[in-house]
């Protein structure tokens, strides 16, 4: 329970309606998109501007109360589960578009704006903001920045970090700091903007962001390539890149994923295929036509059973939407769905897919795989049942092995979902002990009393396993 003086101070800052500590509010902020995790906060607060965030932070700092910043709670790493209690700060009310600068092609927004609403607004102005996590109809820009989210367009256009050029944030002390600005070039000192992107709410509360916008591509084409042979599909991915074609989107779905997605979206996908690639190219008409043709050739060379090109925008959009729903559609199979985020160099996609299947079989768990194949970012997804502890244990063992395999191939434990609570024990495998020490040092400077999203990113102890650092 929160001290009544603290409670009063917080209520004075935001007003009675925007600080809540009834049981219903606590329960509904005890979870996020990650399965099997839950912890109650002591209060939920909804600030309306930077000044309020700063005032709140000062109170919490004075009383040493932890804070978890929260967008829409769609993250998949336990990032917003308040494991050490404290206050959950919901950013939804701070959802304004503050400035669209058509001369500099930038947008300045508050963090609570829903990603899709922002994207639609920008597109109506004839501009383009590429980062498009599959959760974009729910997630917030603030959450995207804090997790450095990627999406279906990451391959060609990069991810959130490539579009954030300035930030305003509130530090653990309550002080307000600004980084970057509407500048395309800026090397004044360390790059604190980039440091904050992907910091998962552990370094500061982001209160404003300046984003880079670009002109939209003129022309777009979407195609599907279907394979009876899984390895052929995976090899196609490496081969397209090898041929120096960078598609806008290059997504992979294996057979179980195809089945559930089709069941949900009723697309009439072929259910007997081992894998499907969803490929999109955009740009000038001439280049797009040429690339799509060459990609089709490569698909056939790798023994695709069928290659089809979407006849219109509507069809293309349906395919993309279906792919975006893959993860949640998999939840139709079993009660609990655990999605992971292993990433390897693109040339290793085929090996990684085979390795995942081998490990799944070894541990007798069902793992469906889909993902941003063009980025080397796979989402092996276990469908299981949280009530079956023995099975969950086998799932955990399988995932450990999958991470190990990914790192062994020069990959990483997460390509876009972040470390949070669930990957914390594995972080050292990837960055090594020197890396951990450096990161902890940085955290210490930003947040000496460990108030910002405590328990995340750094585990009490790492999993014991000798792993060679390959960066």
């Amino acid at each position: 329970m929160l001290d009544s003086r603290v409670r009063q101070k917080l209520q004075d800052i935001v007003g009675e309606a925007f600080f809540k500590d009834d049981m219903e509010s606590l329960v509904t902020h005890s979870y996020d998109g990650t399965p099997m995790l839950q912890a109650l906060p002591e209060g939920v607060i909804y600030p309306k501007d930077t000044a309020q965030v700063s005032a709140i932070m000062k109170v919490l700092n004075e009383h040493r109360i932890p804070l978890v910043s929260r967008g829409s709670g769609t993250n998949l790493c336990g990032g917003t589960v308040p494991v050490q209690g404290g206050i959950v700060m919901v950013m939804h009310r701070m959802n304004a578009i503050l400035d669209i600068d058509l001369q500099n092609l930038t947008a300045t927004v508050q963090p609570g704006i829903i990603t899709k609403q922002f994207i639609e607004h920008i597109e109506n102005l004839g501009l383009f903001y590429p980062p498009d996590p599959s959760s974009m109809s729910i997630s917030t820009i603030g959450g995207n920045i804090a997790e450095c989210s990627g999406g279906l367009r990451g391959l060609k256009y990069g991810t959130t970090k490539d579009y954030v050029i300035g930030l305003e944030c509130v530090l653990a002390s309550g002080e307000i700091m600004r980084t970057g600005g509407k500048l395309m070039k800026d090397v004044a000192g360390y790059d604190l903007t980039k440091l904050l992107i992907g910091s998962e709410g552990t370094l500061a509360v982001i209160t404003e962001a300046t984003l880079k916008l670009i002109p939209p591509p003129k022309y777009k084409k979407t195609m599907l390539a279907m394979y009876k042979d899984l390895y052929g599909a995976a090899r196609t991915v490496s081969k397209i890149i090898e041929n120096r074609i960078i598609p806008a989107t290059l997504e992979f779905m294996d057979n179980p994923t195809i089945r559930v997605v089709d069941d949900f979206a009723k697309l009439g996908l072929p259910l007997d295929m081992a894998a499907i690639l969803l490929i999109e190219q955009d740009g000038d008409m001439e280049t797009v036509e040429r690339d799509i043709e060459r990609i089709s050739e490569i698909c056939r060379e790798e023994l695709a059973d069928e290659v089809s090109i979407a006849s219109n925008q509507e069809e293309a959009l349906r395919l993309l939407t279906a792919r975006r729903s893959a993860f949640t559609a998999l939840a139709r199979l079993r009660p609990t769905t655990i999605l992971e985020d292993a990433t390897v160099p693109r040339s290793k996609i085929a090996d990684m897919v085979l390795e995942i299947n081998r490990i799944a079989e070894k541990h007798r768990v069902q793992i469906c795989t889909f993902g941003h194949a063009g980025d080397g970012n796979l989402h092996p997804t276990a469908t299981t049942d949280a009530r079956d502890h023995e099975e969950i244990h086998r799932v955990e063992l399988a995932f450990e092995e999958i991470f190990e395999a990914a790192i062994g191939m020069g990959g990483t434990i997460t390509g876009e979902h972040g470390v949070g609570l669930v990957k914390a024990p594995f972080l050292e495998w990837k960055v090594g002990s020197a890396g951990i020490a450096m990161m902890k040092g940085i955290k210490e400077v930003f947040d000496p009393h460990h108030l910002l999203n405590p328990g995340k990113m750094f585990a009490k102890e790492s999993r014991r396993r000798v792993v060679i650092d390959r960066g």
Partner: protein, 444 residues
């Protein structure tokens, strides 16, 4: 199933809630943007994901469900827009019914007039078609006798509740004679017969919108259906089921199944999305009673909304080229949530409206989002209902339509209210799709 009243709400929740469905929710949040109450408040507890987590926390013993738990469950419109949005296929509609069913056996917190309204509506009126038509004559008398004017002038109605007085303004001329009294129980097909359609007349529909019922039957006949109207049918039970009175809902369902089975129909046609949605789910409603399995599935499989049966089974209707001369008529369509989200019938209505001669169909923004009517929600939750309605009317007004077409009596009334309160009332009219279509069909 033996029924011992459990000691606490928590225990009843544990008994009634389907734990499998609770765990199926993976908290992805895909349902959030679809939910009108979340859209209005931005509060997680007012979202489908939030409500499910509250139910689960209550069952898991993380919290004891109190008054604000009940409030959160009651704030839900039951529009079920969250269901098609959910890729994990969580049956939210069933969960909220189970939760409300549990709450209903325990709650002490209805405000006096809410429980009064509920008692009259659920126990005394809807189950009894005779009383419903008496209510019809009452309203008829009320309007015709001049009593209405007196009530309005003295402001007596306002004493009840601002909202009820608003509703009072838009109530249509109710009829003392239902459809059977006016048309009989059998209306033959025009031209060659395609199949036999059983008309589900609905209790509210038959009293407040008898004319619409008559036109529905005539449309069916034009499209080649023999129509029978089993006299022994009664209220669909939707309001009861959605508000936690599930025993009564089940009794009503059984009676309706019997009535239509005896009538030997090929289809059961509803012109009220709210009724249709529970009719297609009679098999679920009675799923705990194996002896009803066969007949409830028989029934559920035959239920069709009027637009759907016209498009999918009927002979194409021939619409008059034009009824206005000159410029085309601008129309827009407000989905009935239950027709759209449960009966999956959002396309046929639009298709029919587009076939009508000389109309410009303008799709309104968020047409699929609830208007706030939601059964008796607008009576029990007037504040939220009005807020939702106000936002709905912004989108309606933006279409500048002359006709706002709907597919459900509750929505129709709510839209009339919306036009009265926030709309362009001198140039816009809310109509039921059956009326709109029938008036434009070339009669054979």
């Amino acid at each position: 199933m033996a029924k011992l009243p459990a000691a606490t709400l928590q225990e009843t929740l544990i008994q009634k809630l389907d734990y499998e469905q609770l765990t199926n929710c993976m908290r992805c949040g895909f349902c959030l943007p679809a939910c009108p109450t979340f859209k209005e408040t931005g509060v997680e507890a007012e979202s489908p994901r939030g409500r499910i987590s509250l139910m689960k926390a209550a069952v898991d013993g993380i919290m004891e469900p109190g008054i604000s738990f009940e409030d959160q469950m009651n704030h839900c419109l039951g529009c079920r827009a969250c269901e098609p949005a959910c890729p994990a296929d969580v049956k939210y509609g069933q969960l909220i019914e189970q939760a409300r069913d549990a709450i209903e056996t325990h709650t002490k917190q209805h405000r006096w007039w809410v429980s009064g309204v509920r008692k009259i509506v659920f126990k005394e009126l809807f189950p009894h078609q005779k009383r419903m038509s008496l209510l019809g004559s009452g309203l008829h008398f009320y309007k015709k006798s001049g009593l209405q004017t007196i009530v309005r002038k003295t402001g007596a109605v306002k004493a009840f509740s601002k909202h009820l007085s608003d509703m009072e303004k838009i109530l249509p001329d109710a009829s003392s004679k239902g459809i059977v009294e006016q048309l009989g129980t059998y209306i033959p097909a025009k031209g060659e017969k395609i199949a036999t359609a059983g008309m589900f007349r609905g209790c509210l529909m038959d009293v407040l919108f008898t004319e619409t019922n008559i036109k529905t039957v005539k449309l069916l006949s034009e499209a080649g259906f023999d129509v029978v109207i089993p006299e022994t049918q009664n209220c669909c039970g939707a309001l009861h089921a959605h508000s936690g009175e599930s025993d009564q809902a089940k009794a009503m369902a059984k009676n309706n199944i019997r009535a239509f089975q005896e009538a030997g129909v090929d289809y059961i046609v509803s012109n009220a999305g709210g009724c249709g949605a529970i009719l297609v789910e009679y098999d679920h409603l009675l799923h705990e009673e194996p002896e009803w399995k066969e007949s409830s599935s028989w029934f559920a499989a035959r239920v069709k909304d009027i637009s759907t049966i016209l498009v999918e089974q009927g002979r194409p209707l021939q619409f008059a080229e034009t009824i206005d001369d000159g410029a085309s008529t601008r129309i827009t369509y407000q989905d009935s949530c239950h027709l759209r989200n449960v009966m999956k019938g959002s396309n046929p209505s639009r298709q029919l409206l587009k076939e009508v001669g000389n109309v410009a169909f303008i799709e309104m923004k968020d047409a699929g989002s609830c208007c706030g009517s939601a059964g008796i929600y607008n009576v029990t939750q007037p504040v939220m209902a009005n807020q939702i309605l106000e936002h709905k009317m912004e989108n309606v007004n933006a279409t500048a339509a002359q006709y706002l077409v709907t597919s459900n009596p509750g929505c129709l009334l709510q839209m009339k209210l919306g036009i009265e309160k926030h709309g362009q009332k001198d140039r816009m009219e809310a109509v039921h799709i059956a009326d709109f279509l029938y008036d434009r069909v070339v009669k054979k």
